[in-house]
Symmetry: D2
Subunit: 159 residues, 4 copies
């Protein structure tokens, strides 16, 4: 089993810019995260433009779909912002690829105290190797099929 | 799907004792880890005596087996030291319980920089919900059946 | 020698709000920081309204001055945003109190990776016990008299 | 004012060795710590053999003294284990150098959660610029002259 990790930004990958005094994107955290996880499963990282998912448009989602189409790996993890994760999952789900595609992200950036990013990424790396082909969202230690999930923004949870 | 987490110690849960100047066990980290993961899947934490897995004997492994037997949950994660994880997996595997039991741990303690603990725990929480009944070791982003794994101590990896 | 710590907010004390997806103020970090530092010097923490220093007005600065006036301790540390730290230092400096008042803060929030907050706070706790009465800014491992300092915003440094 | 940092090991600089499963010395943390602190004061780092201070002998202390003698900087910070910090301070104190020498260390390693290392280092960098020549121990947010201090090992504090 081999995995492709597609980084697209989102809260997971935000970085504190000390000159501007706000969270933004810089070089992504996933190369470090993959080393930290001591993964021995074959893994290929592909970094797309890192975006806040509220700023994603149709072309951005088509680019993610194109990466999934091109991928040789049977398991794909898409690291994505949570706000429009469902919209991207719908685009990927409609394509009915014969691959296991798992979208995940984080409520707190990887580099901020108490972040859920590393847990979520580990969770996604696990289920992407075991679930049958399909498109899934993995958050809050649960797996949701792409067409049976919504984000409860007030609670900050998927359900 | 509901999960039982059985804490048994190991590197994952070691704590730096500043008076003695070494790593030891104190109160476990898993209550904090579970909150941090923002898990909404039903989860029950059971803390057994926290031990270095090199100090575990047969009675300790029987106690873990007894906890698995009593558990109502279909998915069980055993947080365990890596040095004798395979020995405990053999005891649990021989019992052929109709449950999905996943042993995991860490090469670096949860509270030490660059720890793999949170990743491994997330990974285990994922596969424990999806794999068929059986006993597995989940480390290095891979799942191993209990009877097809060994720890390469020189490299610090499972294979 | 005893110290008073006056928390006023700033980058040091910002907290990631996972529902809003941005940095804001919640309960301050200083009670935790003081325990972490294992301080045995007598220390009194006073938490004023936590503000981004760009949002501070004259009344806010007068409130900080009033706290300094009332303080029994000979050494005072004011944890403050860096953007208008100099303006507050000028208000405190003009009052010519017979106390050693040290303003410090952080370029990266305490709870974000690679933060300078704990270093700066330690530095300020040191010089506040040793410098003669006066008003100082302590940043970048340097002490500046209140009337001989400016923030270089492009570089994110005091000089 | 310029500073020399002399690294000699101690709890501050211990690193978790994941193959051996214990804390040991590897490359030191101070180059990273100095960058993290965004120090603009001129600083020179000198790394001596990194040792647990319980393993230090007379030759080790003479080597530290020799480094202090050779140093051009008026302020020197010696990062040292806490267990025999006082013994090294006595050797340095007896030499009566016309420099400000501050020994500091940590109760919890820099890379372990809740470490006091960064605070203590910041504190020492502050007082080393302000105190008159002499030899001092800086721990627990206090400055002690070298001949008026002891470590209370049961409490893990200097007094």
């Amino acid at each position: 089993m081999s995995l492709r990790i597609i980084a697209t930004g989102g809260t997971f990958d935000k970085h504190y810019d000390e000159i501007e005094g706000k969270l933004a994107f810089d070089s992504g955290h996933l190369p470090h995260v993959i080393r930290r996880a001591r993964m021995t499963v074959p893994v290929q990282l592909e970094e797309l433009p890192l975006l806040d998912s509220l700023d994603m448009n149709d072309a951005d989602r088509q680019r993610i779909l194109a990466s999934c189409l091109r991928a040789d790996e049977p398991g794909i993890i898409v690291v994505h912002g949570t706000d429009t994760m469902k919209e991207t999952a719908e685009v990927l789900g409609a394509a009915q690829l014969p691959k296991t595609i798992v979208l995940t992200g984080a409520m707190i950036p990887y580099e901020v105290k108490n972040s859920d990013a590393l847990f979520n990424f580990g969770f996604a790396c696990g289920v992407a190797q075991v679930l049958p082909p399909g498109v899934y969202i993995a958050m809050n230690a649960r797996v949701f099929p792409w067409d049976k999930v919504r984000k409860n923004r007030a609670a900050g949870l998927f359900e």
